[in-house]
Structure formats: C-alpha cells, structure tokens
C-alpha cells in the first residue's frame, strides 16, 4: 500500500476566488447561450443569472477580503492515485460503446480490482479478481439485458 505519510505539498489555494471565478464564467456562458430564447423560455434563466452573477461577485470579494484557503491534495501520492483512478474510468467509458458492454466491463472490472489490491500480480490475486469479474459482470448483464431488457451497448467495432 502506498505510504500516505509522504511529504506534503504546502501550496494553498484561495477556494473562494476559484469558486467565484468559475461561477462567473458559467454565468457568462449561460448568458451568451440564452439570448435568443422566447420570453416564456428565458424569464426563469434571466432571474437565476442575476442571482448567480451577484453571488459569484460576492464570493470573489470574499476571496479578497477573507479568503478560505485549502490544500487540494494531501500528498503527491493521493494526487497520482486519483488521476490513475479517473484514467481507468475514462478509458472504460471511451471503450464501452466501441467494444461493447461485456468485453469493456470485464476489462474495467478486472483492472480496477487489480489496481486496488495491495499485492497486485500474485497468482491468487489474479485468479480471484478474474473469478469475481466474471461472476459480477455476467450476473448484472443478465439482469439488465435479459430480465429488464435494457439494450446495453453492443460495440461499434463488431457491427
């Protein structure tokens, strides 16, 4: 298991400034995307935009006057773990419509299980992960595909 007591990063971020700036950006995006709406379709969005902009501005002001400072990751190891986790999930979502539900899910489940294991490549680990992957993924496939008749992705590559 990775050592979580590794040296900590000391870089602190101004949370209020980040939240306020992102919210202002969102308000601008929504404003420019909703200028051609009819009166009925736009009235609610306009009221919310006014409130959103005002609150975002207040958050930015607070960020200058009394900022809330945070440390985003406790350590470089935590950052790397999160990024790898997101990467595995991202790959799963990219490959799901391409190679189909079953192959993509078998691969994702097995890889994720192995990634979270303490001792990764022992024979026992590989066999137990493979067995668990086959049982869980196949069971859910049958429930959703056969019983609930959900049309799961079949894979563009195999069409």
């Amino acid at each position: 298991m990775p050592d979580m007591s590794a040296p900590q990063s000391t870089k602190q971020l101004n949370a209020d400034l980040i939240v306020g700036a992102i919210s202002l950006g969102l308000a601008a995006l929504v404003f420019f995307s909703t200028r051609e709406l009819s009166e009925l379709g736009g009235v609610f969005v306009d009221y919310i935009l006014v409130a959103l902009t005002a609150l975002a501005a207040l958050t930015i002001i607070k960020g200058f006057i009394k900022p809330e400072r945070i440390e985003f990751f406790e350590s470089a190891i935590e950052r790397n773990n999160v990024l790898v986790g997101i990467g595995i999930l991202l790959l799963y979502l990219i490959f799901l419509p391409m190679i189909g539900f079953l192959p993509a899910s078998y691969a994702f489940y097995f890889c994720f299980n192995m990634y979270l294991a303490d001792e990764r490549f022992t024979t026992k680990n590989i066999l137990s992960s493979a067995a668990l992957t086959i049982v869980v993924v196949t069971a859910f496939y049958f429930i959703f595909h056969n019983f609930l008749e959900v049309p799961l992705p079949e894979g563009k590559w195999f069409e």
């Binding site: 009819s38 379709g41 009235v43 609610f44 609150l55 958050t59 991202l90 869980v136 959900v150």
Partner: protein, 518 residues
C-alpha cells in the same frame, strides 16, 4: 368505512394475496436499492404481471412494490452515499456518516421503522380523509407551487454549513442545470449545446450518483487507499434494533411532524418524495434542541427524511384515488393499473369498488409493517455489505453507477454526465463548496420555473402578477414560512449568543473556563 377497512384487511391476509404482497415488497426493496432503478420503473415493469391476477391481488402487489421501493432507496443512501431514488437524498446526510462511524445498522433500522411509521400515518389519513383533502389539493395553483419551491430553497441556509453565500451560489448553479433541455412552457431548447439527448433535461438520479457516489470513491477508496469503505466496521446485533425503535418512539414529535410533512407534500400533485424528505429534514434540524448533531450521523436525521418520503407515497394517492390526478410518477403508473382493471378514480372507488380500493389501502398499510420486519432483520445482511474490503466493493459500486446511469434512458451521454458531475463533485468538495445545494436547485428548479411562468401568464390576465402571486391564503402561509425559514439561522445564532453571554456572566469567559478546566 370501518367495515370496508376490515374487509380490505381480510383480503390482504388471504394467503395468495399475502404472498404477492411479500413478493411485491421484496421486489420494491430491490428496485429501490439499485441506483438507476426507481419505484416508477419497478411498478411499470411489473404492472403487466398483475393483468392475470384479480384486481385486489394485482393492486395489493403494486402496493407492496411502492412501499418497498420507498424504503429500499435508503439502503445505498446509508451504505454508499448514493440515494437509490431521488427521494432518499436527505437520508444520505446522516445515513452515510452513521455508516462511517460503524453504525450502518442503526441507520438501516431507523430508516425501516421511520418508513413504516410515515407510511402508516399517511395511510390512516388516506383511508379516513381522502375526499376532503383532495379538494384542498385543488386549491394549489401556480403561485402556491412557486412559493413551495422557494420554501424548499430556503433549506440551503441549513445545508450550507460553511458559507451561506456559497450555499446559495450552488443552489443557483443547480437551478441553471435544471433549465437544460426543453422549456416546459414556451418549448425553447435551452443549453443543450447540440446534444439532442439533452432535450429531456438532466436526469436527477444521474446527477445524484455523480455528485454523491463518485466523489466518495475517488476521495477515500482511490485517493487515500482506505482498505474498507467505512472508517469503522459495522457489528450488527439484535440490541441495536430495540435501541433504535425505542429511541425513535421517544421522539413522537419528530416522527409525526415528518410523516405529516410527507403526507401534505404528497397530496400536492407534482411535489415528490425528494422535496418531502428535504423539507422534513430541514424542519427536524430547526426544531431540535441539538441541531449540531445533524449531518454528523444521527438516526434523527435518517428518520426525518425516511418518514417523510414514505408518507409521501400514500399521500400522493389521495388526489389520485379521489380526483384521478396522480401526485407522483409512481401514482401515475398505479392510475394506469386501476384503469386496466376497469376502475375509474372518483367517488365510485369508495362506493362501488370500495372492497378493492380498501384492499389496496390496507395492502399499503400491511406492506409498511412488512418493511419494518424485512428492514430490521435484513439490516444484519445489508449492514455487512459495508465491511467488504474496498478493493472488492469499489469496482462493483463504480460498475453499478455506470450501469444505473446508462439504464435510465439507454444512452451513453447520461453516463458521461454522471462522470463529469463526479469530477465536479470531487473538486467542489475539496474547495469546500458542497454539492448538496446544487442538487437541491436541480430538484426544485423545474418546480419554481413552472410556478413562476404560469403565475406570470395568469397574473397578466388577472390584472397584476404581484397581486396574483401574493394575495392568496395558501401563498401567504408559504411566504410567511419562507421568511421564517430564512430568518431562523439568524435567530438561532442570536439565541446561542445570548446563552453564551449568560454562561459567561455566571462562570467567566470561554477562555477563562478553558484555563480553569486545564
């Protein structure tokens, strides 16, 4: 009426009917517990199976599914911070912290007992006073819905434990997200950025999975490599069941208030279990002598949410059975089932078809008791799920979040939205910008918008929007509640300062006390 109730009860306890009720409750719990599957979906899928049954047996089975699903959604909410259906959103606020403290069984039993109690109270109201209450529900017009939505939004002042400004900012972001898709009135396509799948809006359950489930896995299991999902192992025992039941029944006010809120919100057509659970949770905090306990893992929070959302289910059947207006999506499916069995909602349901109608109502009542039994004893199995090492549990949870998000509308865009919301939820948690108010805005946005736009239209015709929205008795009450709700945190802070000042006067300042204690 009493005779019909007894006949209904007799119908429920006919062995064949009782068996289908048990199957219904079990199926309901399963549907409620799986994120992505809802009570509506369960009812819609299983309605065809009831065609071949007698009307009483068919409706008794549907009663079991509905009540079971209203409890089942609490299981993942407590264990993995993912509400099985949107109605269990407030259950996560205290249920998940309880599980983290090794008290998952306490949360599960509290949810079962409170669900049953809420359902019981609402069923008594349904059986005794459905017709007069249905008439009141018709007095809810667009302004009342608008103010009810605004009242719901004032809950943000309770949910934002840190900054109130950031809480309301998150609420606004949620309401902007709720505007994505086709406008209910006007038909404009808004903020879809070319994705036709987004015309139906953002699915609530997808947002819930994204904002609540994924960040927890990214943070604790993946980021910190915690070996188990909870900080402490859960050790289920029989004593816990008794402890929780006695603890909850020592708080009759909390239980009755939550059940009443759920019933009232239920019979207002359109307002769902999510609003009921949120409002009830907020009121529980407001009237409790120890509001600081909420959000950190207390069975009171779980009970407030679950009693209300379970009471909402029979509550939503009041306008359905008397006027044919379904108060919630599952009630709409039940309306379909009634029609298929040749029963039309209205007075004749309580006269010509009274035996079947009361069999259905008693089915709801008995299902509530079954939920207590299944929930309490099932907690031995359910609570152990959280003890499974995270290397086995986390891949299954992530896999189910993907599958659940996909299954709602059978499209990959929902899965991507869940993923993006998961990342946003993770980042915003780190920035101390909690996503609960975003979800609240997303839930209440359509409600507020519809009330606002319809009020503007009707107000113009009536000679003034302001007068139309404000000078109405129910609106007046709701506006008063909104003002009270917003001012309450200020009052609570003032009261706590007064108390502190009195203590200081008697025993010296806090710093002096600390020095003395040391």
């Amino acid at each position: 009426m009493f005779d019909f109730a007894l006949t209904g009860l007799y119908q429920v306890f006919i062995p064949g009917n009782f068996l289908v009720l048990c199957i219904g409750v079990f199926m309901g719990i399963t549907f409620g517990a799986l994120p992505g599957l809802t009570a509506t979906m369960g009812l819609a899928l299983l309605v065809p199976f009831t065609f071949t049954m007698s009307p009483s047996a068919g409706l008794i089975m549907l009663a079991g599914i509905y009540v079971g699903a209203m409890y089942g959604d609490a299981i993942p909410a407590i264990l993995i911070n993912t509400p099985g259906t949107p109605a269990a959103i407030a259950t996560t606020f205290d249920g998940f912290p309880l599980a983290q403290k090794g008290m998952a069984q306490h949360g599960l039993v509290a949810a079962a007992v409170a669900s049953s109690f809420g359902s019981l109270v609402a069923n008594v109201v349904l059986a005794a006073a459905a017709p007069p209450l249905a008439e009141i529900s018709l007095k809810f017009g667009p302004p009342e819905y608008f103010w009810l939505g605004i009242f719901g939004l004032t809950i943000i002042s309770t949910l934002s434990s840190g900054s109130l400004i950031k809480g309301f900012l998150a609420g606004c972001i949620g309401m902007i997200l709720s505007a994505v898709g086709m406008a209910e009135l006007g038909g404009d396509i808004r903020l879809t950025f070319g994705f036709t799948e987004l015309q139906g809006g953002i699915e609530l359950i997808v947002a819930l999975i994204g904002f609540f489930c994924l960040p927890e896995i990214l943070s604790s299991v993946i980021g910190q490599r915690r070996a188990a999902y909870a900080e402490k192992m859960t050790k289920p025992s029989l004593d816990v069941i008794w402890q929780v039941i006695t603890a909850l029944f020592r708080r009759p006010t909390l239980m009755f208030r939550s059940a009443t809120i759920g019933t009232i919100i239920g019979f207002a057509p359109g307002a769902g279990g999510n609003i009921a659970s949120m409002v009830s949770y907020n009121e529980a905090i407001r009237w409790d002598k120890h509001p600081e306990e909420y959000g950190k893992g207390t069975i009171k929070g779980v009970a407030a949410s679950e009693a209300a959302n379970s009471a909402m289910a029979p509550g939503s059947l009041i306008p359905l059975l008397t006027l044919g207006i379904p108060g919630s999506p599952p009630a709409a499916v039940i309306l379909g089932a009634l029609m298929l069995h040749g029963m039309r909602p209205g007075a004749e349901l309580f006269t010509d078809y009274a035996d079947i109608t009361f069999a259905f109502i008693m089915g709801l009542l008995v299902a509530a008791f079954l939920v207590t039994i299944i929930g309490s004893f099932g907690s031995f199995v359910f609570s152990r799920i959280i003890n499974i090492p995270s290397r086995y549990l986390a891949p299954a949870i992530v896999f189910m979040t993907v599958l659940g998000s996909y299954a709602i509308r059978n499209n990959m865009l929902d899965v991507w939205i869940m993923f993006i919301f998961g990342i946003i939820g993770y980042v915003s948690n780190k920035l101390k910008f909690h996503p609960a108010p975003i979800v609240l805005g997303l839930i209440l946005g359509p409600f507020v918008e519809e009330g606002l736009v319809q009020s503007i239209l009707a107000g113009k015709a009536a000679g003034g929007t302001f007068q139309y929205m404000v000078y109405r008795p129910i609106s007046g009450v709701l506006i008063f509640l909104c003002i009270m709700s917003l001012l309450w945190p200020l009052f609570a802070a003032w009261r706590s300062k007064q108390k502190e000042a009195k203590v200081t006067e008697l025993t010296g300042s806090k710093a002096e006390r600390d020095v003395r204690d040391a």
